[in-house]
Amino acid sequence: MNLKLKIWRQKNAATKGKIVNYDINEVSSDMSFLEMLDVLNADLTEKGDEPVSFDHDCREGICGSCSLQINGRPHGPDGGTTTCQLHMRKFKDGDSIVIEPFRAKAFPIVKDLIIDRSAFDRVQHAGAFVSVNTSGNTQDANATPINKGDADNAFDAASCIGCGACVAACKNASAMLFVSAKVSQYALLPQGQVEREKRVTDMISQMDEEGFGACTNTGACEVECPKGISITNIARMNREFIKSNLKS
């Protein structure tokens, strides 16, 4: 199929970017979206033009490196999918596709479609860890019984890959879904209890400092999240935060 691509090009964080149009022909419907961009880049390189920079790593939906706002939706039109797992069969011959970076003040653009998501790392550093006994006789984690419901919910929360699609989808560029997934995965498990109260306040204060917006419960994040993280985690985080503040 032949496609018209409208791609955001931006030299670096300091320069202004703009949409540039590209025609790409003979795209196979079996290609992944990123493979289609690889083909475009091969063409551009051959012509002596600068290839389009975009993030990727595992290309199997687990690392959270890929991003892209495709036709106004993070990770494209397919539900529960990362951009690397999106296939060209979701598009038709003659389609025009707008490709932009995830946009948020807290995710500055590095180049073209590459954004700096280190704000997420800093939020995690603020509290997404547990105390571990390093004396040499560390207890096996499986020795602590955990009820099935909590274990399942913690596991679901832990499946967040930190891609940032929730921020990209939110009209407020809020990171609440991501942060709530991290808070929940520890709050639900016995290992997470030691830092429970401090964790939520520290992570929220880092999240606010990074310049993410506040949640207005539109629910866009959970619709666009490739891992199906639910906004019940946000309610849990709100609860954790209120409780932690009431206690201190």
Partner: protein, 218 residues
């Protein structure tokens, strides 16, 4: 960071002030509805609300502060949230992931604010003038006639109806969302959501019904 300055703290404050304002709306609609049932009961209730010192000098200022607080914080949040995305998307497709109502609370809120301005001008200012500036005779039978007189004007009834539809839209997202902000998400959450939706439709429609009832009766 202090609780109230944090993003979640502001949301909690929004929710609590919303609950306060919704409880006031419930009381207001209940009293207005008396005007449909019986002139005498409406006059009695209005007279009580209008002359009881606790309601006049404690509850009324708290209510005004509550309204101001909810609106001001709403604007602050909107401003902060807008600035979290300084460069806009070239293409948006938000309608596929969220409801129009949830994304446009600021606009439904602004119309309600405009309506409140008119409502103050229409009912509250004349009432304050009557009671506390001109010190007119506290006639306990005047309220019903005043109310029905206001609803004779079709333009007022029209604007009133539009405003309450906007209020309905604001409540449809806001009421149930306030529970989520406060962290309510247990097995009762789906039931709470449906009840909140029912209230969000019923309260404004009852206000509209009362206005139309008096308008058509006249």
């Amino acid at each position: 960071m202090s609780f109230i300055l944090s993003s979640i703290g502001k949301k909690v404050a929004m929710s609590l002030s919303a609950f306060f304002l919704i409880s006031f709306l419930l009381l207001h609609v209940a009293i207005n509805f008396l005007s449909v049932v019986s002139e005498r009961m409406y006059n009695e209730a209005s007279h009580f609300m209008g002359t009881n010192p606790i309601i006049q000098f404690v509850m009324q200022p708290i209510l005004i502060l509550g309204v101001l607080f909810h609106f001001t914080l709403g604007f602050v949040l909107e401003f902060q949230n807008k600035s979290a995305r300084p460069v806009k998307y070239e293409m948006k497709n938000n309608q596929l992931n969220s409801s129009w109502l949830s994304r446009n609370m600021i606009y439904s809120g602004l119309v309600i604010l405009a309506f409140l301005g008119l409502h103050f001008y229409d009912f509250w200012i004349p009432e304050i003038q009557y009671k506390y500036i001109e010190f007119q005779d506290p006639n306990r039978h005047r309220y019903f006639a005043e109310l029905t007189h206001k609803f004779e004007d079709p333009t007022r009834v029209g604007f009133y109806t539009v405003s309450f539809i906007l209020l309905m839209m604001h409540l449809l997202h806001g009421f149930q969302s306030a529970f989520q902000s406060l962290g309510v998400n247990n097995k009762f959450a789906p039931g709470i959501k449906k009840t909140a939706w029912a209230f969000s439709v019923a309260i404004p429609l009852t206000f509209v019904f009362i206005a139309l009832f008096h308008h058509l009766k006249h």
